[in-house]
Point group: C2
Chain length 314, copies 2
C-alpha cells in the first residue's frame, strides 16, 4: 500500500512510521510537484498543495491526511465526487494557539513592549498603569478545540468568558454562549475579542465595521483564525479611529503580508507571521493522529480521528 507525503518529515518521525507499519510503502517528497502520486492510496499533506487534477488522476486514492487544520485550499468538490476520506490534525493546535493568545493578552495588560522601551532608555518608570486579566471579559468567536482551550485558560486567570458558535449550545469553560444572531451585546461588553474561526463561506467578512463600532474603545481584538474574517480596510479604520485599543493579527487575507502593507506600520496593530500554532510538538502530535488513523485504515476499523465533513469544510 502506497503512502505518499508531499512534505519531508524529520528522520525520527519517518523511522517511526516505517518501523510501525512494515506493510506500508512510504514515499516522502519535499513538495507535491516532485512527488509521484499517481499510485498513492494515501496522501499525507499540509493541505495547501492538492488540485482537482491530482485527485482525478490518482485512481487508487482513498484517503487524504491533512497535517493541519485549515482546509480552505482543498479541492473538496473533486474529493466528494470520488468519495475520498479526509482527516486532519484538528486539536493539536489548541495548546500552542491558546498559549499564544493568553500571551498576547498578558502582553497588552502588562505593557511589556512599553516596559522594554523604557528599559532601552534606562528609565525607571513605575507609573505605567498595568492591568489585570482577572475580572476582565473575553469573548471567543468559535468554541471548538482551540476556542475552548482559550476559555479554559481564561477561566484559570479568573476572567469572565463568553463564546460565540452557530448553535448557541453551552460549551465547557464559557460562562455564556451567544450565536451569530445575538452576539452584539457580547461584543459591546468584552475586553478581549478573540477569533479562531476557520475560513468558510459563512465566516468570510463576517466581522464588519458596525461590529468594531460596538466594541469598547479599550477592547483588544485578536485574530488567530483566518484573515478573511475581516476586510483589511475595516481593521485599518478600527485602528486609526481607535475604535479598539489594540489589534493583534496573526492571519491575513494575503499571506505572507506584503512589505508595503499598512498593517506593519500602525502602533496599535501588531503583526505576527501566522505563527500561533507553531511548536516543536506540532508534527509529533500530528503523527500520533496519522498513526492511529493508519492502523484504523489498515485493519478496516471505522474509528478514524478527525474525519472532515466535506460539506461543512471542517
Amino acid at each position: 500500500m502506497e503512502v505518499v507525503f508531499s512534505f519531508f518529515p524529520p528522520a525520527d518521525l519517518r523511522e517511526q512510521l516505517i518501523n510501525e507499519f512494515p506493510d506500508c510503502h512510504f514515499q516522502f517528497y519535499r513538495k507535491i510537484s516532485e512527488a509521484e502520486w499517481k499510485n498513492a492510496e494515501v496522501i499525507v499533506t499540509y493541505g495547501e498543495d492538492l488540485s482537482e487534477k491530482i485527485i482525478h488522476s490518482s485512481p487508487r486514492l482513498r484517503w487524504i491526511m491533512v497535517c493541519s487544520a485549515g482546509l480552505e485550499k482543498m479541492p473538496f468538490q473533486a474529493i466528494k465526487e470520488k468519495n475520498i476520506l479526509v482527516t486532519n490534525a484538528k486539536g493539536i493546535h489548541k495548546i500552542p494557539m491558546a498559549e499564544f493568545t493568553l500571551g498576547l493578552m498578558l502582553q497588552h495588560a502588562k505593557r511589556y513592549p512599553e516596559l522594554a522601551d523604557f528599559e532601552k532608555q534606562r528609565v525607571w518608570n513605575k507609573k505605567l498603569p498595568l492591568q489585570e486579566l482577572a475580572e476582565k471579559e473575553v469573548l471567543v468567536l468559535g468554541t471548538g478545540a482551540i476556542g475552548s482551550e482559550i476559555g479554559r485558560l481564561s477561566k484559570a486567570f479568573r476572567m469572565k468568558t463568553s463564546g460565540v458558535n452557530r448553535s448557541g449550545k453551552p460549551v465547557d469553560y464559557f460562562d455564556r454562549i451567544y450565536t451569530f444572531q445575538d452576539w452584539n451585546i457580547a461584543l459591546g461588553m468584552a475586553d478581549f475579542i478573540v477569533s479562531v474561526l476557520p475560513s468558510t463561506p459563512e465566516t468570510r467578512y463576517l466581522l464588519r465595521e458596525n461590529h468594531f463600532q460596538t466594541m469598547k474603545d479599550t477592547a483588544v481584538f485578536i485574530n488567530i483564525g483566518r484573515g478573511d474574517l475581516v476586510e483589511d480596510k475595516v481593521l485599518l479604520n478600527a485602528a486609526k479611529q481607535n475604535q479598539v485599543a489594540h489589534i493583534y493579527l496573526d492571519v491575513f487575507e494575503k499571506e505572507p503580508l506584503p512589505p508595503e502593507h499598512e498593517f506593519w506600520t500602525l502602533n496599535n496593530i501588531t503583526v505576527t507571521p501566522h505563527i500561533s500554532a507553531m511548536s516543536k510538538n506540532y508534527l509529533p502530535r500530528a503523527f500520533e493522529i496519522l498513526k492511529h488513523n493508519l492502523s484504523t485504515y489498515i485493519t478496516g476499523r471505522k474509528d478514524f480521528w478527525n474525519v472532515v465533513d466535506l460539506d461543512r469544510g471542517y
Copy 2:
C-alpha cells in the same frame, strides 16, 4: 480613635472609610514627615517610612496596618518592645504578580520581542522556533500566597510544578515540594525558576553562583521577590556566561536601578521597575483588609487578617 495615614488614598476610598467607621477620626497625609502621628492609635502606611523614633514617641499606638507585603524597612525591635500589632496586605499581590510572571514566561516561550523586531523590519519570518509552556517545569522559590497562585496558573498551562519552602510540606498546585537543603536537583531540572521570596536574613544572597551553574542553560530565571536574593555580580556572570537563557528582574538590591547599571544593557537580562504587583485593584483590595481589621479592632474581636509574625518578619 485616631487613625493616621502616611499616604493619601483616592477620594472614593477615603469616603468609604469615613462613612463606614463614623467613630474613627481619619487623618490622611501625603507623607509621614507631614503627618501628626503623636496621638495615633492606628497608623496606616506602605511600610517604608516608620522609624524607631516614631514608634517610641507615639504613646497611644496599638496597631500598624501596612498596605504592602514587604516589611524589611519596619523597625521591628521597637514595635516588639511596645507590643504593637502589625498587619499587612499579604495576599492582594498574588493575582497581579502571578499574571506578570506567566506573562514573562509566555514572552520568553513565544518570543514576542523578536517577533516585534521582525515586524519593525516588515519581515515575515515563520522560522522562529516558538516553545510551549505545556510539559515544561517551573520551580517556584517561596510557596506562600503568590507562589501558590503561580503554581495554580502553571498547572492550568499543563506545566510540571515544583516549589521550595522551609518545611518541605506539600502545597496545593505543586507536584513536588523541596526544602532549601535538597533543592539542587530541582534547580537542575527546571525550565523556569521563579523567586517570590521576601527579604530576610535567611534569604539574603541565598542564590549563589553554584546554583546558576546547576541550572539548565535553556532555563529562565525570574525574580519578582526581593533584589538581595542574589548578588548583582552573580546575575551578571550568569547572563554573560549564558549559564541560563534569560534573566527577568523586577527587583534589585538598589532601587531605582541606577542608569549606569550593567543590568540595563545585557540582551539576556530584562529589567522592569518593581512593577509586578501593580494593579488598579491594589488599594481597593488592601482597603478590604484594612476595613475588616478595623471592625475587628473596634469590636474587640481577635480575627485579624494578615497578622505579621514579628520574629519571622513576614
